[in-house]
Amino acid sequence: MSSGEKYVAAAYLVVFAVVLVYLVIMSLKLQRLQRELAELAELARERREREHGPVSREAAEVG
């Protein structure tokens, strides 16, 4: 590979890398949001139990 080709490859690689780093940051954020949402769902369930008595645990559709 000539040096010209190496530089071009490096430049495109940098752009690619930055976009992928973005991907990593977004996935970490999604993970955190998922965890927080689970906590909040738990809080909501507790609150509902306090107000209306224990709720039966039926199977719910996920999809």
Binding site: S3, G4, E5, Y7, V8, A11, V14, V15, L40, L43
Partner: protein, 229 residues
Amino acid sequence: MSTWLRNNAGPATAVLAVTLICAAIALIFFWVPEDADQGFSQKIFYFHVPIAITAYACFGWGAFKAFMHLWKRPPEADLQSYVAIHLGVIFGALTLITGSIWAKASWGVWWTWSSNQLVLFLVLFLFYSAYFMLRFSVDAGPARSNVSAVYALFGVVLIPVSFLAIRLANDFIHPVVFTSAGPQMAGSMFFTFCVSLAALLALASALYRLELTSKRLDVTMKRLREALE
């Protein structure tokens, strides 16, 4: 049709970005002829300049949203301005890095003060990096959004003034003159350049929507938490 587009704008822009980027890369490496003067390393130009233009577009959009925030006060304008400037700084950093690689490939140095565009970008990069320092040192609230908006507007005003200053500065800083790629491009090169520009603008759009959605989620989660506790 337009309702579907509005509801699915995020994924739609991402699909557009993927398509255009693949098209651009295919054109750059398989179709467009090699430049006679600069050889293979000229191909960096097809990404470097569109990235610069995209960065300017992001700063411009950020300033527009800042202006709207100060004028009409739509609730999300400050957040949109922040995300746009954030993206602009990322693309700005990419401009400087790819520009530096191109300088090394073309002229053998990692940095040159004689390229007006690169120097202007450096100044803007410093300016908008300070935007984040400003934003992080003011507590969230109307004060922060107002101050950020005014600063963002200063940025776009700075662009032409800085450009003028840098042009004039070259007279006494005694530049080492490098010839750069001329504006006349063969038709095929210009077409490839345009596709590449569209691709990067689409990429910026897609990333903008993605980040905006995630920040909106943060706000909603906080409100939800406050409602439940």
